[in-house]
């Protein structure tokens, strides 16, 4: 018998061209809570979905209770005692709680379902762990916290002794999180082994016995809770980039180009993911938003760009209220936007470089004469931009599908900074691009600022925030936890604020 309940070794998994997991390692001991942490896209969820048999692994090996399992399906995983609480709940809205719990493992009475027996079994678990669950209600009538408890009960009734929780607290209120942690501790007491996936470091420090870190599909290391600190974990998660020394251009900030006043915004899964954010950006300065991914930065940017509805509060661009305007109207008002995901929002990957470069001006002169597009003019413009922004290959007619991450991102950057708006919103502008491209994109941002544009920069990379920004605001769980001038900021005080801590008195005194 092995020391470990679960052993995952040298795991590799790609989806098309995306290397979700390059080098995955994971072990789980009996009766421990083991956190798997990393930024969005680090591969932590994929690792656990592979363990649960949601997709086959490309390479590597998985052992459960010491037995090598060559290929896993959810059915085999369940039989081996593995249960998973997915980030997106696997519950059928129109069915009752009880029906959802027994789905796939229904106690039978001939061909019919033995609901009495089912209820008895489930109630036994509910009582054992003191959970609050109403079996007769339909899923769409219960709260998110309750739905999560239903998911946990579901794994227990299927006989799980290993339970994987994929970012379970992302959708919970602080009170619900506390309840969940009590349940998790009780499960551990009963000898269950738990995997806790998260990127919220304070929670990880509270609940875990051991912590493993992943970054960009690679296993970084495992530490026990006693031996580590949130600061060390953050460093492991985010990693140090090669220091890209860029001389900060000194400019005199002008008028306010962006004013965000007490804005509240809903997220995909939670209402009011952003709660009362206020900030402003002046012409000729870069304001950096620092924060661990998933703390509301994306929602804030989408709200500014008109892609997400603002619950309350107001956003002003160059003094003009943006509420109720369409994304196109907001662009007309002077917004340039480098979206965080170039593949789904930044580019149309099935179209050429040329077409992507004029995507936001397609109906306008000189690229359009009446209703007819002017291809010659477009090509001329595209050639010019390719030259200036060093987009390789230097052929604007080819499809963006074949471009490397860096060159694809340059197409987006070239388009956005060339339309000459008043505000540039740059969201993760250098994520997943090579060093050369990082350098040139950072330079471009400096140039844009020198020309008098206001820049709002969102980056999970502290290095980037520190080297580019004139002012820095830090977001944590949908609120701004700190505002610092660039000269007062360093990785330590930002890191603390990113984890929800508060700035010390003198730093608060120097806020703008």
């Amino acid at each position: 018998m092995s020391e470990y309940v679960i052993e995952m070794k040298d795991i590799v998994k790609s989806f098309g061209n995306v290397h979700a997991v390059r080098n995955g390692q994971f072990t789980l001991k009996k009766g421990e809570i083991h956190s798997l942490i990393g930024e969005n896209g680090a591969g932590k969820s994929t690792m656990m979905k592979l363990l649960y048999g949601m997709y086959p692994i490309d390479d590597g090996s998985i052992r459960i209770h010491g037995d090598h399992i060559p290929s896993i399906s959810p059915k085999i995983a369940i039989e081996k005692g593995i249960g998973m609480v997915h980030q997106e709940f696997m519950l059928v809205n129109e069915l009752t709680v009880l029906e959802n719990i027994i789905l796939g493992f229904e106690p039978r009475h001939g061909i019919t379902i033995d609901f009495d027996k089912a209820r008895k079994t489930v109630e036994q678990y509910i009582n054992q762990y003191g959970m609050d669950i109403q079996l007769g209600k339909k899923i769409n009538q219960i709260s998110v916290g309750e739905a999560q408890r239903v998911e946990i009960i579901k794994t227990l009734t299927r006989g799980a002794n290993v339970i994987i929780l994929d970012e379970p607290t992302a959708v919970l209120t602080p009170q619900e999180t506390k309840q969940l942690f009590v349940i998790l501790q009780n499960l551990r007491k009963d000898g269950k082994s738990l995997v806790f996936i998260s990127h919220k470091l304070n929670e990880v420090m509270e609940i875990s016995d051991r912590i493993s870190v992943m970054r960009q599909g690679n296993y970084i290391g495992s530490v026990s809770k006693e031996e580590t600190s949130p600061a060390e974990l953050a460093k492991m998660m985010i990693g140090r980039e090669v220091f890209l020394n860029i001389e900060k251009t000194q400019t005199k900030p002008g008028e306010k180009v962006l004013e965000v006043k007490d804005v509240w915004v809903s997220g995909e899964k939670e209402i009011s993911k952003i709660r009362g954010v206020s900030l402003d950006v002046r012409a000729g300065e870069i304001v950096g938003i620092a924060g661990i991914d998933g703390n509301g930065q994306s929602e804030l940017i989408e709200a500014i760009a008109g892609l997400r509805q603002v619950e309350k509060g107001s956003v002003l661009l160059d003094g003009k209220e943006l509420g109720g305007l369409s994304p196109k109207q907001i662009r007309k008002a002077g917004l340039s936007h480098i979206p965080e995901d170039r593949n789904t929002r930044g580019l149309n990957r099935s179209m050429s470089i040329k077409e992507n470069l004029i995507a936001v001006q397609v109906g306008e002169a000189p690229f359009c004469k009446g209703v007819v597009r002017d291809d010659k003019e477009t090509l001329e413009y595209a050639k010019q931009l390719s030259e200036v922004f060093d987009i390789r290959p230097r052929d604007p007619e080819i499809s963006t599908q074949s471009l490397s991450g860096g060159n694809a991102q340059k197409v987006v950057v070239a388009r956005e900074v060339s339309i000459g708006g008043k505000l540039l919103v740059a969201s993760q502008p250098t994520r997943g691009v090579d060093i050369g491209a990082i350098e040139s994109i950072r330079k471009i941002l400096q140039e844009v600022k020198a020309k008098g544009m206001g820049v709002l920069l969102v980056s999970a990379d502290l290095e980037e925030i520190l080297s580019l920004s004139d002012r820095i605001v830090v977001m944590h769980e949908g609120r701004i936890t700190g505002r610092l001038k660039a000269e007062d900021a360093n990785e330590d005080n930002l890191g603390l604020l990113m984890m929800g801590g508060t700035a010390s008195a003198e730093e608060r005194g120097s806020t703008t």
């Binding site: 369940i78 809205n93 493992f105 229904e106 039978r108």
Partner: protein, 310 residues
């Protein structure tokens, strides 16, 4: 116009009689709908069944054999659709319409080549599904009038509605089927083979669709004519939408069609233009779909982000 003559006791049976083929079709559509597959091919499956039933009944002299072969024919048509949709990922509406067109053509072709007729096939050699009366009902004056001399498949449709309801809501299979239709990922994580469930749903749908056809040609009438389903399959699909794929509500929706049809037939006797009367079922179909779609739209919440998640 004598309203008393139009709304007489006999209207109850007339309504039920015209509704029965549509109820079968609607149940055929409801089963796949529970697995989130829109069975637009119901019409074609039913037409194939209708032809097979008449041909086999005529050639063998056995109505029962006719019904069985009709169900098998329906099954074959349904499986073509299933393989195309599940294995080769064809758009279900496209392949369903393909099945409908194919059914029109193949029945016409076989009518000419195998039975040597064109247009209509109506021979004394066709053995129809027998009609029976339940003796205990025959003694009750009012009920006697309603339940007199029903075709076996008319009795059976009532059994089938209840049976399908029971399967959907009381059995293990039904629970899994509904889970597959409403949230396939949830079913998959519960260890259920989603594709296999879909195949089974379409197969059963094919059997019922074939039976729908057999009833139409051997029970409701005693002949086969080209395109004799005459959009009953589509009406079944509309009724299924109306009833949200719930067998009992769906059947109730079909009765609306039956009622329209029988009132129309009676109005014709009073000089209402026949074209107008023939138009009515289609008007009701569109109205039914409009009402059920509008209520469905209202239920669905708006997406919060402007773009769908990749």
């Amino acid at each position: 116009m004598d309203l008393g003559k139009i709304f007489s006791v006999s209207l109850i049976y007339a309504t039920f009689r015209s509704a029965t083929p549509i109820i079968y079709a609607a149940l055929c559509a409801a089963i796949t709908q529970q697995a989130d597959i829109l069975n637009i091919g119901t019409e074609g499956i039913m037409l194939t069944g209708a032809f097979a039933a008449v041909a086999v009944s005529y050639l063998t002299g056995s109505w029962l054999l006719g019904v069985v072969v009709a169900m098998i024919a329906g099954l074959i048509m349904a499986m073509i659709m299933a393989v195309g949709h599940i294995r080769y990922k064809a758009e279900i509406c496209a392949i369903g319409m393909g099945i409908n067109l194919f059914a029109l053509a193949i029945t016409k072709f076989l009518l000419n080549s195998a039975l040597g007729k064109s247009g209509t096939f109506s021979e004394p050699g066709i053995i129809a599904i027998p009609r029976v009366s339940l003796p205990f009902l025959a003694k009750v004056p009012f009920l006697k009038e309603i339940f007199d001399n029903w075709c076996i498949t008319e009795w059976f449709v009532i059994v089938l509605i209840i049976l399908v309801w029971f399967v959907f809501y009381k059995t293990v299979w039904g629970l899994r089927l509904r889970a597959v239709g409403q949230f396939p990922m949830a079913a998959q994580t519960a260890g259920i083979n989603v594709n296999s469930m879909k195949y089974r749903a379409i197969a059963i749908s094919g059997l019922i669709g074939g039976l729908a056809g057999a009833h139409l040609s051997l029970g409701y009438s005693k002949m086969f004519t080209e395109n004799m389903t005459n959009a009953r399959g589509f009406m079944g699909v509309a009724a299924m939408y109306f009833g949200g794929a719930h067998p009992i509500l769906t059947a109730a929706g079909c009765l609306v069609f039956g009622l329209t049809d029988s009132i129309g037939a009676r109005l014709q006797a009073y000089g209402v233009p026949s074209q107008l009367v023939l138009l009515m079922p289609y008007v009701v179909t569109i109205a039914t779909l409009a009402v059920s779609m509008a209520s469905k739209m209202a239920r669905e919440k708006k997406k919060k982000s402007a773009l769908a998640k990749a």
